[in-house]
């Protein structure tokens, strides 16, 4: 019995350490009001929040960035990654919004920080935070079963124009989020009536299952999700959403929409933000560090492992990019009647 107790205590302790080990830097309020100009250096450990659970894209990006920062000695202070899952990011954003003025709290985000507030499910959007730098991009893909009648994107869109009710599009996330919107953007550019597109969200059983067994027709997802199935010849990738063909075997076989005459691009960008009111000096510091990260060989290797593309943008450029992107997304959501209040 004693053994059981002490062992269980040990396991608990281990769990606690694993859970809380990264938490020591949260809730700080040592803002440095006097350092309005000049050099700024972190004075304590830095916390990067991934507003999602462990194992997802945001979590991976945050952990990989933290790892390279430390291993390459780019930042000498400790960096902890903390998961704040919930509400498609909304719980994490609310947490960061409370760290106003802190220079030691960062978080990672991508298009949901534009889409979730637009659909009315988060009171905070990118305007409420301090964009620091974008680091990576990946792209979407549209795939169909290998036995499907469509050889390219145009054939699919032609059929959709004729009878939109005969074609089902499947994605992992809900309508108004990335998988849906990226498809809608291309369909719109091709002249399809986007209000009639049949979209199914398959959050539990993956969308790929529905393509393989023929329940749904088109899979709208990230490029990484389709590579293996395409290599095995189970599915056909009609188009990727990038500007130019991607590098890598199999990847380079996927045609872009652009080369098929549909002038549209969708980038799934991913970058880092700070809380509201971060000091300009701190923003400058992190901006330079993320540039160093993005240029490092170690991070290049990680990008290659995950099939990410390099896409660095500094704070100013990033902010402008986000504003434009949000405007374009807003008009699409409005047309689909998915805007929240």
């Amino acid at each position: 019995m004693k053994k059981f107790l002490s062992l269980s205590l040990f396991v608990m302790l281990a769990l606690f350490l694993a859970a809380c080990g990264n938490d020591d830097s949260s809730g700080d309020d040592t803002t440095d009001g006097d350092e309005t100009s000049g050099e700024w250096e972190p004075e304590q450990s830095i916390e990067i929040v991934a507003p999602a659970g462990a194992g997802g894209g945001w979590d991976t990006t945050a952990r990989m960035a933290a790892q390279v920062f430390q291993e390459e000695g780019i930042i000498s202070e400790d960096i902890g990654v903390v998961n704040k899952p919930g509400g498609g990011g909304a719980v994490g954003w609310a947490y960061i919004a409370n760290q106003e003025g802190s220079n030691h709290n960062l978080f990672v985000s991508s298009s949901p920080i534009l889409l979730v507030p637009l659909s009315g499910q988060s009171e905070y959007g990118h305007e409420d935070f301090t964009p620091i730098a974008n680091v990576i991009a990946d792209y979407g893909a549209f795939a169909v079963n290998a036995d499907a009648p469509w050889e390219d994107l145009n054939e699919l869109f032609e059929d959709m124009k004729e009878d939109p009710s005969s074609i089902t599009v499947v994605g992992t996330s809900s309508p108004g989020s990335m998988d849906h919107i990226q498809f809608v953007r291309f369909a719109k550019a091709a002249g399809v009536d986007i209000t009639k597109i049949k979209y199914v969200s398959a959050p539990d059983a993956d969308g790929i299952t529905q393509i393989l067994n023929g329940s749904a027709d088109v899979y709208s997802t990230g490029v990484a999700e389709v590579v293996e199935q395409a290599k095995a010849g189970n599915i056909r990738v009609l188009a990727v959403t990038s500007e130019e063909r991607l590098d890598g075997d199999t990847l380079s076989d996927f045609p872009t929409a652009k080369e098929q005459g549909i002038d549209e691009v969708f980038i799934n960008w991913r970058g880092f933000f700070g809380p509201p009111g971060m000091d300009q000096a701190a923003v400058d510091y992190y901006e330079a560090k993320f540039k160093e990260l993005s240029d490092s060989d170690a991070f290049a290797e990680i990008r290659a492992n995950y099939g990410w593309d390099e896409m660095y943008m500094g704070s100013e450029e990033y902010k402008q990019f986000l504003d434009e992107e949000k405007e374009s997304l807003e008009s699409i959501l409005e047309e689909l009647n998915l805007l929240g209040e």
């Binding site: 019995m1 269980s8 462990a54």
Partner: protein, 502 residues
């Protein structure tokens, strides 16, 4: 065929290498231990292991993580049986008969039945996995939305069999479970439902909050209220863990049936161990000659879900390894870890990296044997948890429940929810509303609703899709039979009773 044989050999080399055996042992030990703690399941166990696997050989890393996974399912029955505190949804059905058995002073026997059933389910399913893995990929994708809907429907017919006493109360309980699962963002439209503007509710309520609230905390409340009762004394006894010949005979049927049934359901992405264990439980009750014993400490009622959830765990590796489709939250975490190591599981894994594919499968044989060796001798010690003075034991259950729930999202809001569901569960017990229909409706309801609405979108609103889909049609007919048979039975019994009287 040569390629497959070579693959199996290279897999055996991985599994039987010194490192392979060592990592299996570490994996199952950590897994079974974390699984035993109430409130902690395989996802938390694997999440802890991930940093350890960075830089490891991918085959060994997967062997380790797989060990943690099925180890946690193996050990998960312990907290269900002893404390009525299931840490994973797959062991909820285990508590239906396991906990009453422990309360009757037969904790040792209950744990032994669970361990042997788990071992049998795990081992038989690994054999099935090894023989059929190459052809099973097509089974894994054979279910479209209409078939999933019908499968959930079949699971739901269990509500009638889970009700002790009032069927009406069981139905009310199930309806509340359905209502609770609709909270959060609706995936088909993207709108938030019943969140009252709170970001904390956007993702819905986690299974663990409900299970630990309705089962563990409600039980704690009940124990406190009834602490003076004499019957409580019994529960302190552990009893012999020797199984009689009859016990062994009782287990034979469930083992042979549910290792296959559980395995097949486990293969389906999204269905997994939970649904397998529930369906096994009701099937066993339906075909039993003594259904009235179920829910009161039946050996068959304990063995069936335990065989099934372990068999389903092996089954879950089919879509992961042969298609790269994670069938559950746990396998999704494992998929993420594999990606970090530069391995993309998919249809080509078996030919490109046979040592990974077959290495994991071969290691499961060893893992299951280790689990049995680890668990059986420990049973008397583990069961002694029950001899801990009540006040201390109750405090420990509360503490573990809080840790388990907090470790899902590190959000204190979930702790208030846990407390709320503890109160609800306690009131339900006081007024004799059964909790199992609630949790069953909660588990199945979400997937059922999604599958139904996906089907409706695909068919442009025509219900014919459920009849045109052959798998769905068969499952719906089975559901109808499963639903109508008890009604017919009670009608016949009444008639016979009337005739005897008349």
């Amino acid at each position: 065929m040569d390629g497959v044989l070579e693959g199996i050999v290279s897999g055996l080399q991985v599994a039987f290498s010194l490192q392979g055996i060592l990592f299996v042992l570490i994996g199952v030990f950590i897994g079974t231990f974390i699984g035993m703690l109430p409130g902690l399941g395989p996802i938390s166990a694997i999440a802890i292991m991930i940093p350890l696997t960075y830089g490891m050989d991918p085959a060994l890393a997967l062997v380790l993580m797989a060990g943690v996974y099925y180890g946690a399912v193996f050990g998960g029955s312990t907290s269900s049986i002893l404390l009525n505190a299931p840490g994973i949804s797959g062991t909820v059905a285990t508590s239906f008969d396991g906990y009453p058995m422990a309360q009757q002073g037969k904790a040792g026997k209950a744990l032994a039945v669970a361990a042997i059933s788990s071992f049998a389910g795990g081992t038989i399913s690994v054999i099935l996995l090894m023989i059929f893995a190459p052809v099973l990929a097509s089974v894994a994708i054979s279910f479209g939305p209409p078939a999933y809907f019908a499968l959930m429907l079949l699971g739901l017919t269990a509500i009638a069999s889970l009700s002790e006493g009032s069927t009406l109360k069981a139905l009310i309980s199930a309806v509340v479970g359905f209502m609770i699962v609709t909270i959060g963002i609706d995936p088909q439209t993207g709108t938030a439902r019943f969140t009252f503007g709170s970001a904390n509710l956007l993702d819905g309520i986690d299974f663990l909050v409900i299970a630990l609230g309705l089962f563990a905390l409600a039980e704690v409340g009940y124990l406190i209220i009834n602490r003076k009762q004499k019957g409580m004394k019994n529960a302190k006894e552990i009893g012999s863990l020797k199984l009689t010949k009859e016990d062994a005979k009782e287990m034979g049927g469930p083992i042979s049936r549910h290792s296959i049934l559980g395995f097949i359901i486990g293969i389906l992405p999204g269905a997994g161990a939970t649904i397998a264990s529930f369906i096994s439980y009701i099937t066993e009750k339906r075909i039993s000659k003594k259904p009235e014993e179920f829910g009161k400490g039946s050996v068959k009622g304990l063995a069936a879900p335990e065989v099934s959830n372990n068999a389903a765990t092996s089954g879950a590796f089919v879509p992961l390894l042969s298609l790269g489709i994670p069938g559950s939250g746990t396998t999704a975490v494992m998929l993420g870890a594999l990606l970090v190591m530069g391995i993309q599981p998919g249809p080509l894994l078996m030919t490109d990296r046979p040592e990974i594919f077959w290495g994991v499968i071969a290691s499961m044989y060893i893992g299951n044997i280790f689990l049995l060796i680890l668990n059986l001798p420990l049973i008397p010690y583990i069961a002694r948890v029950l001899t801990i003075p009540r006040p201390l034991l109750i405090s420990m259950v509360i503490m573990f429940s809080v840790i388990g729930v907090y470790s899902i999202s590190f959000n204190t809001f979930d702790l208030y929810l846990l407390l709320a569901f503890g109160v609800i569960g306690f009131l339900m017990r006081m007024f004799a509303f059964p909790a199992p229909p609630f949790i069953l409706a909660f588990i199945l309801g979400g997937m059922m609703e999604q599958a139904f609405r996906q089907s409706m979108t695909i068919s442009n609103g025509s219900l014919m899709i459920f009849i045109e889909n052959k798998i769905a049609l068969v499952l719906i007919i089975l559901s109808l039979l499963s639903f109508l048979y008890p009604i017919y039975q009670s009608y016949r019994n009444k008639k016979r009773a009337a005739r005897e009287v008349g």
